[in-house]
């Protein structure tokens, strides 16, 4: 597996677009918390009135709230990382290098594994960056930090990892099916809204299954956290049930990619 990862990284480490997109995504992750602060400052400056409550005191970036808040926002940005996956994999098909890889001695399964290894590494890397950003931001803004509070809710970073990994594998599958990068990115962008519309229009009798749709079940792991600031009840933990459903979807995606690769003439 490490050999296959190394092969894939050999292809990517000298590819400028790969680095540019990764760095942009990294900057996005680092930039969001300061964006939030600027937004709160702006609220304060225009004199937004929360019953004389200072917007800067809203504990958005305080431990332990910060974990669910930032990971939820980051899951909305995963399309940017998916672009990296779509471009690098569709390149293999447009350059026909996947064909040469097989001729040279990779099996179709090896090709799949090498791409999955890279996707895993990308997800892991960005999760570590999220962890680091969360810790540093939390340390800066939380008044009276206690060590036990710092890691309370850190499991949201794991949920972020799984959500991102699942989406990237989904992007992998779409690329294999559609082959063209621009088309694939477009479909990935409209897929989620389409899924939401579908769920909203499900007949009453089967309404419940909407929660098990691929991207919906993944997003159910981390629920929208912000209503808690207007005193609504939210799911402030990672739903283990939907972790299981997400894992199931990932296994299905991988199986679909494998079957498609196996059956096609390259």
């Amino acid at each position: 597996m490490l050999r296959l990862l190394r092969i894939d990284l050999l292809k990517l480490t000298s590819y400028r677009a790969f680095w540019v997109l990764n760095i942009l995504y990294g900057l996005l992750i680092i930039g969001i918390p300061s964006g939030v602060i600027e937004f709160l400052k702006w609220l304060k400056s225009i004199g937004a009135d929360f019953d004389n409550f200072d917007p800067m005191k809203i504990p958005i970036l305080y431990f332990p709230d910060i974990w669910q808040n930032i990971t939820y926002v980051y899951t909305l940005l995963k399309i940017f990382m998916a672009i990296i996956v779509v471009i690098t994999i569709s390149n293999e098909f447009s350059y026909k290098t996947v064909r040469q890889n097989i001729i040279d001695g990779l099996s179709r399964g090896d090709f799949l594994k090498s791409k999955l290894a890279t996707i895993f590494l990308l997800s892991l890397g960005s999760s570590l960056l999220v962890l680091l950003t969360g810790l540093i931001t939390g340390l800066i803004y939380t008044p009276d930090v206690s060590f036990s509070e710092m890691f309370d809710g850190v499991e949201f970073v794991f949920a972020y990892f799984l959500d991102l990994f699942g989406f990237l594998v989904f992007a992998f599958l779409m690329t294999i099916l559609l082959k063209r990068s621009a088309l694939t990115v477009f479909i990935l962008m409209i897929y989620r809204p389409v899924e939401l519309i579908l769920i909203a229009n499900l007949p009453k009798a089967i309404e419940g299954i909407g929660n098990y749709f691929p991207l919906q079940s993944m997003s159910n792991m981390i629920e929208v956290p912000f209503p808690r600031y207007i005193f609504r009840e939210i799911q402030d933990y990672v739903s283990l049930g939907f972790v299981a459903v997400s894992l199931l979807w990932i296994v299905l995606f991988v199986y679909a990619i494998y079957s498609k690769l196996k059956a096609s003439d390259l």
């Binding site: 050999r3 050999l10 390149n91 064909r99 040469q100 097989i102 001695g105 390259l266």
Partner: protein, 298 residues
């Protein structure tokens, strides 16, 4: 002799089209084996199946007497159709990927690049290469694993005469090292110049398979020209099977065991002096066209 490749009843259908039809072939160790056929005769499809990029419909094949696996492919150096590399990577980086896939030592990269005379351009990106350089790089890539078998598909396609000559020299040099080479081409001349064995495909079916020398062993013709008329003398010569006149030249088909020497001596004895005497072995091209014509009539 041990067979490097043996194919039995290989068939590939695309819907109603049969690209490869019940093909059976044997390639021996050390052969330079040419696969001839017009465009669209199934050459590349056959090689694609042998290299697992195309799924067969039915039939079997084995490499080195083993069922085909990725491990077997690591011992084969192959290029199908156009040279395929990552355009944004340098020659060296591209070959590093090939070496990693084939689990071959990276120390093989430098000698391979030197062999195809690309060492000076090794750090330039693949996309900046000319077609001839790309073809040579793909041969270098096929050499990375010090392969037991090399598969080359139309290796001189789109090259200028100098490029063609270079690639041919390279193939001959590699063949001289005792490697088995499988060469698909629609250029007969090319196959005749470098191959020891060949087969002819048409619409996916095997028309012929044999050695190139056997072709040369067929009837020999001699072109003769002289200042005097020769037809009477030539027709009376017992060594001639057939005499034809073409553009002021006589084309004499020799009987068995006869040669241009005998013809010359005979003419001289008759008091005739030839001004032009050219022996022509039956070329692969003629043989090929005959085979195709036969299959049309069949």
């Amino acid at each position: 002799m041990e067979n490097v490749l043996s194919i039995k009843g290989l068939t590939k259908r695309y819907g109603r089209l049969t690209a490869v039809n019940d093909l059976s072939l044997e390639v021996g160790r050390g052969d330079v084996f040419g696969i001839l056929g017009p465009n669209g005769s199934g050459k590349t499809t056959t090689l694609g199946i042998l290299l697992d990029v195309i799924n067969k419909t039915s039939g079997e094949f084995s490499w080195f007497g083993q069922p085909p696996t990725k491990e077997v492919r690591k011992r084969i150096g192959a290029i199908l159709e156009t040279p395929i590399f990552y355009p944004y990577l340098s020659a060296v980086k591209n070959l590093e990927i090939v070496a990693a896939i084939k689990e071959a030592p990276t120390a093989n990269i430098e000698p391979a690049l030197k062999k195809v005379e690309l060492f000076e351009r090794k750090d330039d990106k693949f996309r900046t290469y000319s077609l001839g350089m790309k073809q040579r790089l793909s041969i270098a890539s096929a050499l990375i694993c010090d392969p037991e078998v090399m598969i080359l598909d139309e290796p001189t396609n789109g090259l200028d005469p100098q490029g063609i000559a270079e690639i041919r020299e390279l193939i001959k040099r590699i063949a001289a090292e005792g490697k088995t080479i499988i060469l698909a081409s629609h250029l007969l001349d090319e196959v005749q110049k470098v191959c020891t064995h060949f087969c002819v495909l048409k619409k996916g079916s095997l028309l012929y398979s044999g050695s190139v020398d056997e072709i040369g062993a067929g009837a020999v013709t001699v072109e003769v020209m002289a200042d005097q008329a020769l037809d009477g003398a030539l027709k009376n010569w017992t060594g001639a099977k057939e005499v034809k006149q073409e553009n002021g030249r006589y084309v004499v088909t020799l009987a068995e065991d006869q040669s241009a020497v005998g013809l010359n001596r005979y003419l001289f004895e008759q008091g005739l002096v030839a001004s032009h005497l050219l022996t022509q072995k039956k070329s692969l091209e003629k043989q090929f066209l005959e085979l195709l014509a036969e299959s049309e009539n069949a």
